[in-house]
């Protein structure tokens, strides 16, 4: 690797990971290996626009739930703008109360962290990509990191892409739409009083299920997935909440790590 790079060690690691990954093309230039371009940002906006209808409906459902729970317009806006995590926000509406003690505030923070713990793994999964960029940039774009971003980024990387602009464009565009659609739902309120009827609770599960298809690399690559699925099912039976995502995913990753043949 080049000596002028500030963090040669991470660079070397990222390089190794990148060239040894089977789905990655081996032929890309190693110069300017950390691009973030306007073209990439635009590509990200286009990629995320496909997921937009589902996200809009999800945000409208959250806005309506917030109105029903008695949040003010400003509070609803703030939550979508600074928390920006759909499932956690909907779960928070279940726990919302008129009076807040410090204990209740700590409690909602813990529940939020539990629901969002999958983001820790999603971040880890794409870290070899991010390692090429500055800490400041990563700290900034990770604020906009969501399930949708992770799905888009993972698919883009598996097709050989490496322009971080794709994540930035997708993240910021999604954030804007998320905030606007939240307020729309807040205004419409009771119109979507029963989001289940239209299957809104299935929007994210459908996106996740659809991702299995582009991620498929043949039966041998699916062994860790089977382990992940079985462990997640058992964990979901034993514990309430969303711990099953973390426990199942880690079980799959560990299985993948200790299989002798290349994953």
């Amino acid at each position: 690797m080049r000596a002028r790079r500030p963090c040669a060690l991470t660079q070397a690691r990222a390089f190794r990971f990148w060239t040894e990954m089977p789905p990655e093309p081996q032929t890309q230039a190693l110069d300017d290996d950390a691009p973030i371009t306007a073209g990439g940002i635009w590509l990200g906006v286009r990629k995320v626009s496909v997921l937009m209808p589902g996200i809009v409906v999800f945000a409208v459902a959250f806005g309506a739930a917030a109105a029903a729970k008695g949040l003010s317009g400003l509070e609803t806006f703030l939550m979508s703008a600074v928390v920006y995590a759909g499932v956690a926000q909907l779960v928070a509406m279940e726990l919302w109360r008129p009076e807040w003690s410090w204990g209740a505030i700590a409690g909602i923070a813990v529940v939020t962290a539990t629901v969002n713990a999958r983001m820790v793994l999603q971040g880890a999964a794409l870290q070899p990509w991010f390692a090429r960029y500055s800490r400041t940039l990563n700290a900034l774009h990770l604020f906009f990191y969501t399930d949708a971003n992770w799905l888009i980024g993972t698919r883009y990387r598996s097709e050989g892409g490496r322009d971080l602009g794709v994540l930035v464009g997708a993240g910021v565009a999604l954030w804007l739409v998320w905030v606007v659609a939240t307020m729309l739902g807040y205004g419409l309120g009771a119109l979507v009083s029963d989001p289940r009827r239209y299957g809104i609770d299935l929007v994210m599960p459908i996106f996740f299920a659809a991702m299995i298809v582009p991620l498929w690399r043949g039966r041998r690559g699916a062994v860790p997935w089977v382990v992940a699925g079985v462990v997640a099912l058992v964990t979901a039976k034993l514990f309430d909440g969303y711990a099953f995502i973390i426990v199942g995913s880690l079980a799959g990753a560990v299985t993948g790590a200790f299989r002798d043949d290349p994953a």
């Binding site: 926000q89 909602i108 969002n116 070899p128 996740f208 299995i212 991620l215 992940a228």
Partner: protein
């Protein structure tokens, strides 16, 4: 020193607490992997991670949400195999679940 009760700031503080918790989740995995050396084992584990996250998220949800949801997700996966379009998969999936729920499943 005893903290005063949150009072009228309660909702704002709750939102702030959620925001901090969420941001920490967003950066934690990236920060963690930047200090863990990328050995072949870790690399294979990371390669298996995306599919594992997807399956570990979806399977228990299907189990919790019931037969109608499972059917809708299978419809979405089938659409994806045939057309490779997330939007189409979402539309067919939502159509399936709306129809099944309207029929009382």
């Amino acid at each position: 020193m005893i903290l005063p009760e949150p009072g009228s700031w309660g909702p704002t503080l709750a939102i702030a607490a959620m925001a901090v918790a969420t941001y920490l989740c967003r950066i934690a995995g990236v920060a963690l992997m930047s200090v863990i050396p990328l050995t072949p084992h870790v690399r294979r584990g990371l390669a298996a991670l995306p599919g594992s996250i997807v399956v570990a998220t979806v399977l228990p949800l299907i189990e919790r949400l019931g037969v109608a949801a499972a059917t809708a997700l299978l419809v979405a996966i089938g659409t994806m195999i045939l057309r490779r379009s997330e939007l189409l998969a979402l539309l067919t999936g939502l159509a399936a679940i709306s129809a099944l729920r309207a029929l009382g499943f």
